[in-house]
Subunit: 409 residues, 2 copies
């Protein structure tokens, strides 16, 4: 194990101690005691690595290495440091500590950038406390405005600004940042899926963060007694729903290019063993890296659902959520590929099936993401694990890319 | 409307007033205030029609017209007078008041039977208070013994014998009745299904009360993120379950003879819109009038479920309930057919898809059932309705059959 890998293990290990559920995964809600502990650790490392530390009015942390060009935009590298309840040690922190170690390599190599390098640690990506998710990046980019931010409350009714004050954060500081101050945003994240592990490849270069549509399908039939209603007279909402759900996977497979369709939530009414269901409500989550696939899948799902509409069965489809796919910056992807080749690191291209802060930044600056393998493809659980060797490899690639982007010498 | 039909309307109307949920259907739980009110009404009518009234140690009511043969077994006619919560006015009471009016016709026609005629009003058929159902008939036949009866409690922890005492019933009286004292059990009941209404026929002669098997199927797959897990890598428990459920109806239709299969209850785990389900548990309720069909359907369901067992999906099937089909007495069915023909009443044969007290009596005596149409096939709800004209027609048939069975002159 080399020094860099050793340092990654130390960072990940230390951050994982800041959890509200010791022995049961990482639970680090935004503006909690554990947030404060992790925050102090990150700020301490930033200072140790020669960065100027500041926090914004939403609690995001920036560690800046000044550039020699006056007023030049920064190259941001980082991720988020909050977690879901009982989550893992890598989702978020892997990218934050990668940013820290890129800065450490700048220091170690006595590099002076022309464009500033900023290590960034973001709050509330998961939305585990204030819902919605991506709060830190949405604050920086202005998608979440001052007013809406102040009105957010957690499940106990505590407001964002009250929670910030509790751990000594100043919510009156600026939140939105002028896009002109940002040259690029680079984020390392664990894949949270099985593709890289399956291929035995340590680095994934994200082409796009998939677009997401959530539909809610309602199927209404007619209740009846399981014994007294002959099969021929039934309008069984569950049988109709089952026929639809059984055919959803083929719609995604026909679409191809990694498109996915999932029914994760389904509720049956009245849900009694001897009553023919009169209503079933289920979600359809559609994702794809290309908008054309998403639109095509929406049409196909609607057509499928509609085809079960008849005298006895009534169906309807409601749109609950639409997020367009976000392509990552092709120039930075080319640069990352070049650096992988120079360092002799195997890589492949893939889409991100989950949302990330990089998709918010992609609207205002050149954004790119690196993935490293997740063991067994699992995430958001205590079993989440990635190899520190892969994080160290990613740091080397990010360091080379950051050198190029900041024009450091 | 003739006199008989008018009296049916009066009885049904009066009994429907004894509800704990006025304006919202009939809620008459066993040993409740409403049970006592209905009980007093039924006993009063029995006395008015010249019957000797007694109650047994479980609260069932018997109104007896003595026969001239010493020690001869009785012909019982009746049904239950409890209800489900917010049920209808006909499920149970229609059969009780039919029994009363058969006795009234005996009186009106000055008939003296050789075999005693007993009008019977049973408690707790629905199992809405003490669970299990068919409690009155199970007590009379000894299927439910003294010990088990005493240990039954309602949801508030009140014991059967305490509840009986509250409305002045004596639980120390005998419960089980010597089968030798019963010659036949005849029950009129609403169909609770759409068959008679669909055919426009006023009388159904029940061939068998269907046997019932309840299976619980568990499908286990692997959870995963709806975005990051490619379709090809998934072990989606809900998609597998949906494929099974979509094919269940054809198993019943292939079996024929009115066999039915229902999945009424289904639960998805973890049931989040962006998580691939790792577990689905659902019920399979199988019913048929012939045991061979039930056994064949069990095999076919198991084979279907097993066929989805593979490396990613694990399935299991648990048996939760088995009740054999109960054929009704063929001699009495012939007698009822004869009486229908004599009275020029259209009839058809059908199975009962729901359980009834007659199936419990069928183990110890000759049992038979008449069905009358249910409007829209609905039951167990305030909308439950049957035509008093059909009840009156059924009373005429039961009267003729009872005359024959009791050898009355």
């Amino acid at each position: 194990m080399n020094d860099l890998q050793q340092r990654m293990e130390t960072h990940i290990g230390r951050l994982s101690e800041f959890t509200a559920t010791p022995g049961n995964g990482t639970t680090r809600l935004t503006y909690s005691k554990e947030d404060l502990q992790a925050r102090l650790y990150i700020k301490e490392k930033m200072q140790e690595y020669g960065l100027q530390v500041r926090e914004d009015g939403i609690g995001n942390i920036f560690g800046r290495l000044e550039g020699t060009l006056t007023g030049a935009p920064s190259v941001l590298i980082g991720s988020h440091f909050d977690s879901v309840p009982n989550g893992g040690s890598y989702d978020g922190p892997a990218g934050v500590v990668a940013g820290l170690e890129v800065a450490a390599l700048f220091k170690e190599n006595n590099l002076t950038p022309k464009y500033p390098l900023e290590v960034i640690a973001l709050v509330e990506e998961e939305g585990a406390r204030f819902e919605g998710g991506l709060m830190g990046s949405r604050g920086i980019t202005g998608v979440l405005n001052e007013e809406d931010f102040k009105n957010l409350t957690d499940k106990d009714g505590i407001k964002t600004i009250e929670a910030m004050a509790e751990i000594g954060l100043d919510s009156s500081l600026p939140k939105k940042r002028d896009p002109k101050t940002m040259k690029a945003y680079l984020e390392l994240h664990i894949e949270q899926g099985p593709i890289l592990e399956g291929k035995g490849i340590p680095i994934g270069l994200v082409k796009a963060i998939v677009g997401l549509v959530q539909l809610e399908v309602t199927v209404e039939g007619k209740a009846g007694h399981a014994g007294t209603m002959p099969m021929e007279h039934r309008s069984d909402a569950l049988v109709a729903a089952a026929k639809m759900i059984a055919r959803l996977p083929e719609l995604a497979l026909n679409e191809g290019e990694g498109s996915v369709i999932t029914t994760g939530r389904l509720n049956v009414f009245p849900n009694g063993s001897n009553v023919i269901p009169n209503k079933v409500v289920f979600t359809v989550d559609l994702r794809s890296g290309k908008e054309e696939h998403i639109l095509s899948m929406i049409e196909n799902v609607k057509e499928l659902v509609d085809s079960y509409n008849d005298s006895g069965i009534k169906t309807s489809v409601a749109h609950q959520l639409y997020m367009a796919p976000k392509a990552m910056d092709s120039d930075i992807i080319s640069l990352l590929k070049e650096k992988c080749s120079e360092l002799d690191v195997p890589y492949c291209s893939l889409n991100s099936g989950a949302g990330h802060d990089a998709m918010v930044f992609s609207d205002v600056t050149a954004a790119a993401m690196l993935f490293i393998p997740s063991r067994d493809g699992v995430s958001h659980c205590p079993e989440e694990w990635s190899d520190s060797k892969d994080i160290a490899t990613a740091v080397q690639i990010l360091f080379e890319a950051a050198k190029a982007l900041t024009e450091a010498e």
